[in-house]
Amino acid sequence: MSERKIVITGLGAVTPLGSNVRDTWDGLCEGRSGVRRITLFDAEKFPTKIAGEVKKFDISKWQKLISDFSFLGRNSLFALQASEEAVKDSGVEQNKIDHSRLGIYFGAGDGGFNFSDYASILSGSMNGGDEPVDVNLYFKNSVNRIRPQSLVEQEPSQVVNHLAAYFKVKGIVSNCLTACAASSQAIGEAAEIIRKGKADIMITGGSHSMIHPLGVAGFNLLTALSTQNDAPERASRPFDKTRDGFVLSEGAGVLILEELEHAKKRGARIYAEFAGYGGTADAFRLTDPHPTGRGAIQAMKLSLQNAKIDPSDVDYINAHGTSTQLNDQIETHSVKEVFGGSAYKIPISSIKSMLGHMIAAAGAVELIASVLTIRNGIIPPTINYEIKDEGCDLDYVPNKAREAKVNSVLSNSFGFGGQNIALVIKKFDG
C-alpha cells in the first residue's frame, strides 16, 4: 500500500492585519505592521504598552449562534471565525462528507482570565487587607461571584469543544499547548492522523490571545517583550541588531488538511502538499534555547527526511524569528548547520516583524503565509531590518516582499520550554 498523501485544501485567518486570509496576506506583502498601542486594557504603566491586536472583528454572527456567548474568550471567537473561513474555502460544506472521518487538532491557548474580578475577590478575602488570604472567605466569595461558564471558557480545550459542536465533528478531536510551537505541532500531528488513516479531513491550526494584564506582566517579568513603545510599528525587528524582544499579538490560523485521493474525488482546489514534520525537545532550560541549537537542528533535519527532500530543495524558510536576541541568533546558526554553505542562498523571513508573536497561533498563520508564498510566488519580507547583526547574516528578505518561484518551504516554530517543530510543504504537482 502506498503512503497516504496529505494536501492543504482550505485556509482561514484572523490576525492584527485583518480578519481573513486575503487582508492578512495583502498586509504581509505590503510590509505593513499590525502593532499599535495596547487598547484592550490600561497598559500605561506597564514596561510594554504595545501589541498586535485584532481590530474590526465582527462578533455579531457568533453572538447569535453560540449560547453563553458572553463568556467566550477571544481564543474561541478567533478560532470559530478562522475555521469557518477555512471550511468554506475548502468547499467541504457543499460536499457530503463523512463526519466520522472529520477531525480537529488545534494548538489553542487558554481563554484568558478575568484579573479584575479575581483581584477583587482576593482583596475581599484578606482580613483587614492583609495576607495571608482567608481561604474560607476566598472560597465563599469565589463561589458567589464566579459563573461556571467563565471557568469553563478559560480551559484551552474549550476552543476545540466549540469547533467540534459547530462543525459536527465525529472523528478525533485534540488540543495541544506547547507555547509558541503549539499550532505547528497540532498541524504536524493532524497530518500524521490522516497519514495513518484515522481521518480523511482535519481542521487544524491554532488560536490565542495573551494580550491581558497577567499575560503582558508575565512576559515583561521574563524581560522577553520589546519595550520600544514610542514606535510600535518598528518594535518587532527580527534579526536586526537593535532587536529587544518580541511583540505580543493575537489571532488564529486554520488549515484544512485532507487526504489526497479524498480531495481529488470531490474536485477540491489544492493549495499545496503537506510534506514533512519533525518535532524535538531541547531538554535544556525553561527560558533559553540550547546554545548549539541541537533541538532546532534535529527538528529541521527530521522534517526534511520526513518530506523526503534534500536541504538543497528548500526554496524559502519561514523563520520562527521572534525578535529576541537569543532566538534569532540561534535560529540563524541552526539553519546554517542544516543547510551548510547554501544557507546564504535561501531566503528566510520572519512575518512576526509585521504580525507580532501570536504565541500558540503563530505557527499556523506562518504556514498559511508559506502556502501563499508557493501559490503566489511572493515571499513576504522581514520588516524593520536596518542594522546588520554579525551573528545574523542570512538573506532575511529585508523590508520588501520579493517575487520568487518557490516549490518547497520549511517553516520553524520553537516553544518556550524547548519544544521545536519544523514543517515542510511543497508545491502540489497534479
Partner: protein, 419 residues
C-alpha cells in the same frame, strides 16, 4: 514493512494511595480509599473539605535543584516525581538509550495560581474602593511578582521540566483535553512509536486542584458530591444510585511505552502490549470504544474487562454504561467493569493515565480491583461491576476509558503480552 509493536515497560504513579504504581495497586486490591478530610488555612480562616490528597509528598526527594523547585507548581512537582518513578521502574534512569528517540507527552492544562503569591501583588494594586487599578499594578504589583512567575503555571511546563531533568530530547507535547487528556497523551505517544518517530515515550498526566482555588472552581461547576455523611472514604460512589458528584483527587501518572524490539534488545520487563486507541468528542463514547476495538482488530466478545471512567455524575455514569452495553451488546454477560475514582478521587488530566496503569497491572497480575462504595447500581446493566473484593481473572484483553464531561472520549485496548 512489519508493523511496529508497542509495549508497556514502566509505570509510575503519585496518588493518594501512596508513592509508586505498586502502592496504588496493593491498596486498590485491599479496597482502601485515599479519600479523607483535608483543610486549607488556619483557625477561623480554615476551609474544610474532603479529598484524595497525596500526603507527605516531599518534592525534594525527586528534585534536588532548589532553583527548579521554585518555579514548579505542585502539579509539576508531582509530574516529575511520577516520571522519575516510571523511569526507575523501566530501568531507564541511567540506561544508554538514544535520548533523541525518547520523548514525553503530558496531559495537563492551566495550573492554579497560588493565592498568597498573587495576594501581595494585588494588595498593592488596589484603588480607594478596593478595585484593581492597572496603573498601580504596572508600577507596584507586577514588580512584586518573581521574575519567572509566569513559567510556574504554563500548561506545557510539566513536560518541559520532565524533558530537562531526564534528558528526553524526542517529541514533546502537552495535551489539554480535560479528563481525557492523560489517555489521549498515551494515544499520541503510541502513534509516534508506531510510525517510528521515537523508540521510547513517557506519557501520562498530572493535576493538583486540591487547593483553595481548585476546590472553589469545582464547587462553582457544581460537580462535587455534597453528601459526605462524615465518612470521607464512603463519599465517592460512581455507578451507585446515590452518587451525585465527585471528590477531588490529585496526582500524576506516567507510563513508559516502548517499541517491542527496542524493549527486547535491552531485556526490559514487559507488562503488556498496547494494540489500539479510539477517540471522539461530543458524546463520542461509542465511537471511541468501537474505534479502539477496530484498530486492535478484535471483536467485542474478546474483551474481558473495562477499566471505566466512572465519573460519579448521574448523567455521565449512565452514558458510559450505555456505551459499554451498546458496544459489547450483552455479548459477554460476565464482562467485568471497574472504576478507580472512589479510591483516588477525580484527578482530571491525570485520570486516564491512572486508569491505564491500573488496567495494565490487571493484565499482568491477573486480577481486577473492586469498585468501592457501590451498593445498588443505578440501572440493571448487562455487565458485572467488580465490587467488594478483587476478581481473580485470567485477562487477555482490557479496555481503558477516559471520558470527560461533554463527552470528549478516548478508549484504549491493551493485551496480555505474548511473543
Amino acid at each position: 514493512m512489519l508493523k511496529r509493536r508497542v509495549v508497556i515497560t514502566g509505570l509510575g504513579a503519585m496518588t493518594a494511595l501512596g508513592e509508586g504504581a505498586a502502592a496504588l495497586w496493593d491498596a486498590l486490591l485491599q479496597g482502601r480509599s485515599g479519600v479523607d478530610f483535608v483543610s486549607f488555612g488556619e483557625n477561623g480562616a480554615r476551609l474544610d473539605e474532603i479529598g484524595a490528597a497525596v500526603r507527605g509528598f516531599t518534592p525534594e526527594k525527586f528534585i534536588t535543584q532548589r532553583k527548579a523547585l521554585k518555579v514548579m507548581a505542585r502539579d509539576i512537582q508531582l509530574a516529575v516525581a511520577a516520571a522519575s518513578l516510571a523511569l526507575d521502574d523501566a530501568g531507564l534512569k541511567s540506561a544508554a538509550v538514544d535520548r533523541e528517540r525518547f520523548g514525553v507527552i503530558v496531559g495537563s492544562g492551566v495550573l492554579n495560581y497560588e493565592i498568597d503569591e498573587l495576594a501581595y501583588s494585588v494588595k498593592s494594586s488596589l484603588d480607594a474602593k478596593g478595585n484593581l487599578d492597572l496603573k498601580k499594578f504596572g508600577e507596584e504589583g507586577m514588580p512584586a511578582l518573581f521574575p519567572l512567575w509566569l513559567l510556574k503555571y504554563l500548561p506545557n511546563m510539566p513536560a518541559c521540566h520532565v524533558s530537562i531533568l531526564f534528558d528526553l530530547q524526542g517529541p514533546n507535547n502537552t495535551i489539554t483535553t480535560g479528563a481525557s487528556a492523560g489517555l489521549q497523551a498515551l494515544e499520541e505517544a503510541y502513534r509516534i512509536l508506531e510510525r517510528g518517530s521515537a523508540d521510547l515515550m513517557l506519557a501520562g498526566g498530572a493535576e493538583s486542584k486540591l487547593n483553595p482555588v481548585g476546590v472553589s472552581q469545582y464547587k462553582i461547576l457544581g460537580v462535587l458530591e455534597e453528601n459526605t455523611n462524615g465518612s470521607p472514604n464512603k463519599t465517592y460512589k460512581p455507578f451507585d444510585q446515590k452518587g451525585r458528584g465527585f471528590v477531588i483527587g490529585e496526582g500524576a501518572g506516567f507510563v513508559v511505552l516502548e517499541e517491542l524490539e527496542h524493549a527486547k534488545k535491552r531485556n526490559a520487563k514487559i507488562y503488556a502490549e498496547v494494540v489500539g486507541f479510539g477517540c471522539s468528542s461530543q458524546e463520542g463514547r461509542v465511537i471511541a470504544l468501537k474505534g479502539a476495538l477496530e484498530e486492535a482488530k478484535i471483536s467485542p466478545k474478546e474483551i474481558d474487562y473495562v477499566q471505566a471512567s466512572g465519573l460519579g455524575l448521574e448523567k455521565d455514569d449512565i452514558l458510559e454504561a450505555e456505551a459499554i452495553e451498546e458496544v459489547f451488546n450483552g455479548s459477554k454477560l460476565n464482562l467485568a467493569v471497574s472504576a478507580s475514582k472512589p479510591a483516588i478521587g477525580f484527578t482530571g488530566f491525570a485520570a486516564g493515565a491512572f486508569d491505564f496503569i491500573i488496567s495494565t497491572l490487571a493484565l499482568s497480575r491477573g486480577a481486577i480491583a473492586p469498585t468501592l462504595n457501590l451498593e445498588i447500581p443505578r440501572r440493571d446493566w448487562k455487565f458485572q461491576i467488580v465490587k467488594d473484593k478483587p476478581l481473580m481473572s485470567d485477562i487477555r484483553y482490557a479496555v481503558t476509558n477516559a471520558f470527560g464531561f461533554n463527552g470528549q472520549s478516548v478508549s484504549a485496548v491493551s493485551k496480555r503480552f505474548l511473543e
